[in-house]
């Protein structure tokens, strides 16, 4: 198991950094956006998609060298991909495996789908409550409309 993992992660062997694994292929670039990876200029970022996986048909993977994200940042991923696995790599070894956890409140992460919502008409942050953890159903703090998992769009 450990060997297989090493092989899998060795696509671009990482000495130190973060590997986000088991990302559903349709969510990969959303995760890229969520973590602001496009704006990173001085660390190496490797993005792979449509890779073979045992757990799902195809998967996406993101590797970021020399960067460790705060837990709070990683938990935001749960909004779009609740089953990702985050590997913390130090000295070529997986030293920690984390599962992301959906926070109770999502501040300025998700966009409200209601065009008549105040958040889409004022320069302000969005705020959602997680009302159903299992199905990732959110409710806008302002207009009170529910947002279902398949309708979630990031801000």
């Amino acid at each position: 198991m450990v060997n297989k993992e090493k092989k899998e992660l060795a696509v671009a062997a990482l000495q130190n950094g973060t590997v986000i694994d088991h990302i559903p292929t349709q969510s990969l670039f959303k995760v890229v956006d969520l973590l602001g990876l496009k704006d990173l200029t001085d660390v190496s970022v490797t993005i792979g998609n449509n890779l073979d996986s045992n757990r799902m048909v195809k998967k996406g993977i993101i590797k970021v060298a020399d960067l460790f994200f705060p837990e709070e940042t990683l938990n935001r991923i749960a909004v779009i991909a609740p089953n990702v696995v985050v590997n913390i790599i130090r000295d070529f070894e997986v030293v920690e495996k984390l599962h992301v956890a959906l926070p109770d409140e999502l501040i300025d992460i998700v966009k409200c789908n209601n065009p008549k919502c105040i958040t889409n008409n004022e320069p302000m942050r969005t705020h959602f409550h997680v009302i159903d953890r299992e199905h990732t159903t959110l409710r806008c703090h302002y207009c009170e409309r529910p947002v279902f998992q398949h309708d979630i769009t990031l801000k």
Partner: protein, 302 residues
């Protein structure tokens, strides 16, 4: 919430609702009390609503307070492109309380985060209109002597009508039974039926607006069926007449039964109902004054 704003009816618990009803009752006995002397209330109507505005401004005036604000959004600073935030910041400096109506959903909740003074939501888009719900509750209490164990029949537009949704939510404290009467296009949305199930509230859904239903009812809550809700105008013409209440439909009703309507009505209540003892929609509108007086006092801790 120590500011005692009122943004959504769900901000109030059962005890608070009952305390407000008692307070409204005092104002019904004596609406002229100089409780607000020296206070300034801002009445900000970003969307015109003469009915609601007059009710609020009368409430303030009868309590001896003063009103500032605007009733025509075209003359307000928003028309010049000012953000809601800036308007609220400015008005917070002048007033002790802000009553606001806005065309955007969630505007009042946002204003409440910014304002240093309490906010009373007088309607935010299609979202909430909690003072309407308070006056509905007060009217039910006034006519039935209680809010507990009543059969409430809602008729007409149950899909888009925010008043029926808020009333349904507010009534969950009081063990109601609901009957939802609507055509397929305007049925009570799934989320509210689910809400009933979650709270163990009995409900029945039907397309027939029949005497059998009316005869079991304590409160008959009529709503306006709007033409613009229909993609098929033929369907509108048909439905409009089916869900019209006439005096002859009331012959077998319970003596305590009362007909409510948030007004304005169009054709959903025939004129001949006005002369029956069951008609209560004009008194209901007047109750808005007392309910709003109670809410203003609560907001200012008076």
């Amino acid at each position: 919430m120590d500011k005692h704003s009122l943004i959504s009816i769900s901000d109030l618990n059962k005890e608070e609702i009952l305390a407000l009803l008692k307070r409204a009752q005092e104002f019904e006995k004596n609406p002229n009390q100089r409780i607000l002397a020296g206070k300034v209330v801002a009445s900000l109507f970003f969307e015109p609503s003469t009915r609601t505005r007059l009710s609020f401004e009368t409430a303030v005036n009868r309590l001896g307070g003063r009103v500032i604000g605007f009733s025509d959004p075209k003359s307000s600073s928003q028309a010049k492109g000012e953000s809601l935030k800036d308007t609220i910041m400015m008005v917070s400096n002048y007033a002790d309380l802000i009553v606001m109506r806005h065309y955007l959903d969630g505007a009042a909740r946002y204003a409440n985060e910014i304002a240093s003074v309490p906010i009373i939501n007088a309607g935010d888009g299609s979202n909430q209109h909690p003072t309407q719900t308070m006056l509905d509750l007060y009217t039910i209490y006034q006519t039935q002597g209680t809010l507990e164990n009543l059969t409430i029949t809602m008729v007409g537009d149950l899909k888009y009508g925010r008043t029926v949704h808020s009333l349904l939510e507010a009534m969950h404290h009081f063990k109601p039974r609901f009957k939802f009467v609507a055509c397929d296009e305007l049925r009570m949305p799934e989320q509210y039926k689910q809400y009933c199930t979650e709270w163990g509230i009995e409900y029945e859904e039907t397309r027939e607006f029949s005497p059998e239903i009316i005869n079991q009812t304590d409160i008959l809550y009529m709503t306006r069926v709007q033409r613009e809700r229909f993609s098929d105008l033929m369907e509108y013409e048909r439905v409009k007449n089916i869900y019209t209440l006439t005096a002859s439909m009331l012959t077998g009703c319970k003596p305590n039964m009362r007909v409510l309507h948030p007004l304005p009505r169009v054709t959903e209540i025939a004129q001949d109902v006005d002369d029956t003892p069951q008609a209560y929609y004009f008194e209901q509108a007047l109750n808005g004054l007392y309910a709003r007086q109670a809410l203003i006092c609560r907001a200012l801790d008076l």
